[in-house]
């Protein structure tokens, strides 16, 4: 036991000696947690569009007015030709071009069907496609309310039109605000980065500097060594997590709906898993840059495939399998469940068991993989 205590003392001394690292550990996550969610807003608003109206008739003007007053679109300009309108899209100043052909009104009355052209910038994220959906429904509505249609419908149908009314509610987040979804996720991500990167660098640093030799020749057990590395970072991680929860509360007004104890239990187990992961990388690598790059590689996968930004369900099946294998997916899911929905232990038990198994497996592997002899 005393061996472990000495090791712990050494590790803590190393952490506190390097003020830059210490500041990075504590300040970076706090600042990023405060700042980052403010910058993440993927709500589609103000879809910019260009109108090319070759017709200039009553109907075409009515349609344009209806679109302008819908609130979803900002009409940047009206151009005389499609070519000129396309310039705006090329320069990224507009997302959509709507082209109303000449003879629009006449054709509509004569042929009963008239097409209009919508060209959307399909590489600009989801903006154009969602704009297209809005526009479709506006045009649909316009169709229903066309005066010539109204006259005709009354003639055909005597009976009242039956209607299905839909009421919808979003539970746990009545205003469907994005921040509630994002902030807990970012907290988890930051915790992962702190734990993963720092522990990945740790053992390999001793290797590179050469101090590992001294540990190898001393009567320290493998598990004591790994545990001595793990505990200080675990404590730091828990502190970061606590600071993060306070930030959530102070800056975003998010207070956990569920039990805080459960949150801490999860954070503790999760940190063990992620630290084991970092230490494993550290035992495999030969240099700090190798360790960092491997850690970064996984960090990117963790970030982009964990359902933090895009929903896991929409991915292809193989990608969903990968996503389910990585621990961060589960912790993000659980954090959202506990903090936003107030789910209890029974709801999150499968995730807890998975994380425990994961932590045991990774740490066992790290201990096994750490060789005292080369």
């Amino acid at each position: 036991m005393s061996v472990l205590l000495v090791l712990l003392q050494k590790e803590f001394r190393q952490i506190f000696r390097d003020k830059t690292i210490l500041a990075m550990m504590l300040l970076m996550p706090t600042v990023q947690l405060i700042v980052v969610p403010l910058a993440m807003d993927n709500e589609v608003k103000n879809v910019t569009m260009i109108i090319v109206d070759h017709d200039y008739s009553t109907y075409s003007q009515q349609l344009v007015n209806k679109i302008a007053s819908s609130g979803y679109f900002r009409i940047v300009s009206a151009e005389a030709s499609y070519k000129k309108a396309l310039r705006y899209v090329e320069r990224g100043e507009a997302d959509l071009v709507m082209e109303i052909p000449s003879g629009f009104e006449q054709n509509l009355i004569r042929e009963k069907v008239q097409k209009i052209g919508l060209s959307m910038d399909a590489i600009n994220g989801t903006k154009a496609s969602i704009g297209g959906v809005y526009l479709n429904s506006i045009i649909n509505d316009f169709n229903v309310n066309l005066d010539i249609n109204k006259l005709n419908i009354k003639k055909i149908s005597g009976s009242p039109v039956s209607e299905i009314a839909i009421t919808s509610s979003t539970w746990f987040n009545p205003l469907a605000e994005f921040k509630y979804y994002l902030v807990p996720g970012i907290l988890v991500l930051l915790l992962t980065m702190i734990g993963g990167f720092l522990s990945a660098l740790n053992i390999v640093r001793e290797k590179e500097i050469g101090t590992i030799e001294q540990i190898n020749v001393s009567p320290i057990q493998k598990w004591q060594f790994i545990l001595g590395k793990l505990l200080p970072f675990w404590l730091m991680g828990m502190i970061v997590f606590t600071v993060g929860l306070v930030v959530c509360w102070v800056f975003y007004g998010i207070i956990s709906e569920g039990s805080l104890l459960l949150m801490y239990l999860f954070a503790g187990v999760y940190l063990i898993a992620i630290l084991g992961f970092g230490l494993l990388i550290s035992t495999i690598s030969n240099s700090q840059i190798q360790a960092m790059f491997v850690a970064f590689f996984f960090m990117m996968i963790f970030t982009l495939m964990s359902g933090l930004f895009t929903s896991v369900e929409s991915m292809p099946i193989w990608a969903r399998t990968i996503s389910n294998l990585i621990p961060i997916t589960h912790f993000i899911k659980v954090t959202r469940m506990i903090m936003l929905k107030g789910s209890g232990l029974m709801d999150v038990l499968p995730e807890l068991i998975y994380l425990i198994l994961f932590g045991l497996f990774l740490n066992a592997w790290a201990i096994w993989n750490y060789r005292k002899t080369t």
Partner: protein
Amino acid sequence: MKQLFVFIRKEFYHVFRDKRTLLIMFGLPIVQILLFGYAMTSEVRNINLVISDNARDANSIELINKIKASSYFVVKESLLTTKEIESTLKQGDTKSVLVFPPNFANDLFHEGKAQIQIIADGSDPNTAKTLINYLTAIVASYQQGLSPSGSLPYQIIPEARMLYNEEGNGSLIFIPGVMALILMIVCTALTSVAIVKEKEMGTMEVLLVSPFKPFFVLIAKAIPYLVLSLVNFTLIVLLSVFVLHVEIKGSITLLFLESTLFIITCLSLGLLISNVTSSQQTALLLSLMGMMIPTLIFTGFMFPIENMPWVFQMISNVVPARWYYLIIKSVMLKGLGFEYVWKETLVLLLMTLGLLLLAVKNFKIRLE
């Protein structure tokens, strides 16, 4: 000049000796481009929906079948009370519950109005909003089929054209962003250890006492990484074209020139970091951990920059990846020429010069 070549050769030896780092450097972008090209999608599909049908009449079943037929939902039917709905949503797999009232068909035809209720899990607001939209659209089309008049006699039909992406290839949206992100981080991190490693190992002294201009030390450090990054970039482009079917619409030469410029920008940033830090650990943490999330966000490929608060829009201006992202989107996907991207190019150029100047200024030629 000859001296410089000797030095560059030395740096190449360093790089090639470390086979594992080399493998990681090339393997990492390849795996990531493939993974994200295939897996990332901004669409919402396969939403788990539970339908609680209290009516079980012809109309409700018809409507449910219609919902089942769409690829957006994975439907499970089960009768739930309000309490059960709450516990189902709390378990987390179900994203939404759709409730039919007991007398659905009756209400619909005799009262002229039937009410159905969607309860969505608001802890995932994006999915919640999308699924409400989807369901509303399905119900609306079902309703239109019900009404005696059928479809409207006069109709305006919008004809949509997807510009630059006719086939709706989802990879196209993410590829430029992921490219910018990977190049930026890999290049910066690689060079960020270049100088500081020599400091840490103590070999810096040898370099400083040699009759070699300090400025050349920086150049010699950067050149191997420039070459490797270009090879890396070529690999990424080849993968995007042949595996992910991203068509390069613009000039390949221009694409390469712009990418070279961007790589030099990142290398300069890396050199600067390497000059101001005192250990590899700090340099790596700064360039990887510190820069990963800001780059991811301020590049603008996940979250539109125009939605951000004013301050962040300003901050995003100093992130090189943001400008590069705009450039490759224009050149690679839209097929535009230099006249459309000269402004972005100029910004990158100025950044590079500024960073290089700072890096040289901070390069200490005396040991402390």
